[in-house]
Symmetry: C2
Subunit: 442 residues, 2 copies
């Protein structure tokens, strides 16, 4: 059988089938690593390394019956039972489609260049560079208005990704960066979080949305709900009657399922997800299972949420179904067990719901969040190094060593103040620094 | 005063001047981080993270009199005493040029695309991806000849970089990767090290070159000396009458000083370095100091080597000269103290010379190398995390978690075997794997 996508769902299915003697598994992914997406925002905000939240798929799937293939899946030919990849075809008896989702730019694909989303390690590294580069540019910028634009960050979408990114970025501007700069005060940076719906974390109970908003505002994040973005370019964001001048826009809104499932020619929902059967198969295709963020599953009339635990449960369920079929055992419908979900606001602050019952906020919620994330990280090494890096950041009050710009961005910096007599650099403006001391400049 | 380049020389000068009250320092670099280049090959071979061997320049230089500017230096106008950067000019009273060197492709700049060198973090990440991608491609490749090409790695230049890269890569193919692949045996990979001169590590005593060659060959590196490369393309390397078919060529030969010094209009040596005065100034320009790999300094008729300790000594010497000048003290000529240099061959193997006297090889040399490198790494965090990562790799017999391909390389993979009846993937060929077991493929 063939599994496309080694995210939470696909990997869990592969691991569960790796123990079966009577199955041969091929796992296809376009990257060589499994990614622990829930911590991606911490790579983007310089807390963690790329390797801390990822693991080579090959080293996770060492079973003898499992093969891993680096390949870009193009389409499924369900009649010929073939997965078409770039450069070839892979026949299957059963297929598990677990190719995930990305953010949706609604009807504005051109916004993707200006406002990158956060889905891959490359995205995280790119966003990290954009944030750090903006402060470098602000430090160089002689014009106060343009300096303010460089120090304004707009995050679109207040789901968990947007909220976590906004909180981490605001914390960074207040605690990690201030003492590094001479001409700007990074604590003056604006972090604006825009949400089209009436509240942040819309999937959470209203009381937790309120708490999250209050905590974000304590971190000096400007939260704007009911703010539908109508225009976006490299220098501004427009919503309603308002326009914010900014050089850094990050995108965390909407859900667009991987386009691979379109080739299945089965009914899709508005986000492009397959409306799966209770066995998690595509309607009419009993050998094609669809799981994780590409699946629109329902339970008691409520959608199963697009989060890691749901994808993992689906992966395990599909593995069981396949084994049961081979053993001619009766098959069972998928049932989602809601263990809860959490979103972090800042250092020691989170909100969340445990077992669909207990609403938590503040430090207790953060402790559950941290424990669960460490526990679910793949591999001993990742757990150890994530804890060490968190410990380092905690004890140094926000110290962040991953503040790397590895690309040469120097050519994109703003022009310095041009003045043939005076020094080209304006004198440092920070009050703490004795700019006017009579030091002979040598 | 202005310092261009925050490598070993520039950073040391800035740190030494950071304590002086009567000097204001501006450090200009096109990257935001200082890079510990001697360990770059360990990022390229998946042992260390990018952040483990780098530190944000701003966090290293926290003195009140020091300013950091991210900018690309274009030229020096020594008459107007101005450093010209992309987007502006920075006037100086004294200038320290510490912009380093890159590899030289001799008269073939077009080879740079095919055979990347190892000088920046981006280079290291790119080389890491090329190495890992080659094995992924080999695993997919149905044609045995092309598969061998993907599993052939040629490294050009057997200076310290080339030797260390070859040793680490050979170790990786034998110990870190074998159990990850099903269709290829990574232990069959060829690592070929080409050197135009008659021996490897030409700057070292002959006896150590011999020892290094023997140790490399024990690691199954094919060492070819006196091998001048005459042609190079995406599929082969030609030297003498020989041609090696390979998809991965890495470059570690030649030295080309940063082109910035050409604008000084002073005498340069063949590698483009400034022939500095005993005070390390450019001839005829007493306010322009040139240090590190852009300086061609001599001592007792022998060139000062282009290594980190020499650059650091130069940086400290220039800082002292500047302070002495301000204090109207007599100035002293630069004297290089040769503390030694070491090159690592493999796990627990190195060669080197200590204090220009003691020749060392094997484990003792490796211990000195490791100790010195840990001691000179910038910052407590880097030391701790490099040691932890080394410990992890050591105790897991080569376990390498940084095996990340973060770019989407899937589109560049070779075509799968096309055969409409049989499965598109050829059956696994590894003897350990029971390819012919009568497992029902589901």
């Amino acid at each position: 059988m063939v599994i496309v996508g080694a995210g939470f769902g696909g990997l869990e299915a592969a691991k569960a089938l790796g123990k079966a003697d009577n199955v041969r598994v091929t796992v296809v992914d376009r990257y060589n690593h499994h990614l622990f997406q829930p911590l991606l925002y911490q790579v983007a905000t310089s807390v963690l390394n790329t390797a801390d939240i990822s693991a080579p798929i090959r080293s996770v799937l060492h079973s003898r019956n499992t093969e891993v293939l680096l390949a870009e899946a193009k389409s499924v030919d369900a009649r010929r039972k073939v997965l078409v990849v770039e450069g070839g075809e892979i026949p299957y008896d059963s297929l598990v489609v677990a190719t995930g989702a990305s953010h949706s730019y609604f009807k504005h694909p051109e916004w993707a260049d200006v406002a990158p989303g956060l889905k891959t390690l490359d995205d995280a590294v790119r966003i990290r560079e954009r944030i750090l580069t903006a402060f470098e540019a602000a430090e160089r910028e002689p014009d106060p208005e343009r300096q303010r634009e460089w120090m304004t960050f707009v995050i679109i979408g207040a789901g968990p990704t947007g909220v976590e990114l906004a909180g981490a970025l605001a914390y960074m501007t207040r605690h990690s960066l201030p003492k590094d700069f001479r001409r700007i005060d990074t604590r003056q940076a604006r972090v604006v979080l825009l949400e089209g719906l009436p509240r942040v974390l819309n999937a959470y109970p209203e009381e937790l949305s309120e708490a999250a908003k209050r905590d974000l505002e304590k971190l000096h994040v400007e939260v704007r709900t009911g703010a539908l973005v109508t225009d976006l370019d490299a220098e501004s964001v427009t919503f309603g009657d308002e326009r914010i001048a900014t050089r850094t826009v990050l995108w965390g809104a909407g859900v667009a399922a991987s386009p691979l499932v379109r080739s299945l020619e089965v009914p899709l929902d508005r986000a492009g997800r397959v409306k799966v059967t209770p066995l998690l198969t595509a309607p009419g295709l009993e050998d094609v299972y669809v799981i994780g963020d590409v699946a629109a599953a329902e339970q008691h009339g409520k959608p199963v949420p697009g989060i890691a635990p749901a994808a993992m449960q689906m992966g395990r369920h599909v593995a069981k179904t396949i084994r049961d079929r081979l053993a001619n055992k009766p098959l069972r419908a998928f049932r989602y067990h809601d263990k809860g979900s959490f979103a972090v606001i800042g250092r020691g602050y989170a909100v969340g719901v445990l077992y669909d019952k207990w609403r938590m906020k503040g430090l207790p919620a953060w402790c559950v969040w941290a424990g669960v994330h460490i526990a679910y990280l793949i591999g001993f090494r990742n757990r150890l190094f994530v804890m060490l890096n968190w410990g380092y950041t905690f004890f140094t009050q926000g110290g962040r060593n991953m503040r790397l710009i590895t690309h040469n961005v120097a050519k994109r910096m703003p022009a310095l103040a041009a003045s043939p007599q005076a020094p080209a650099l304006p004198p440092p403006a920070r009050p703490e620094l004795p700019a006017s001391q009579p030091a002979p400049v040598h």
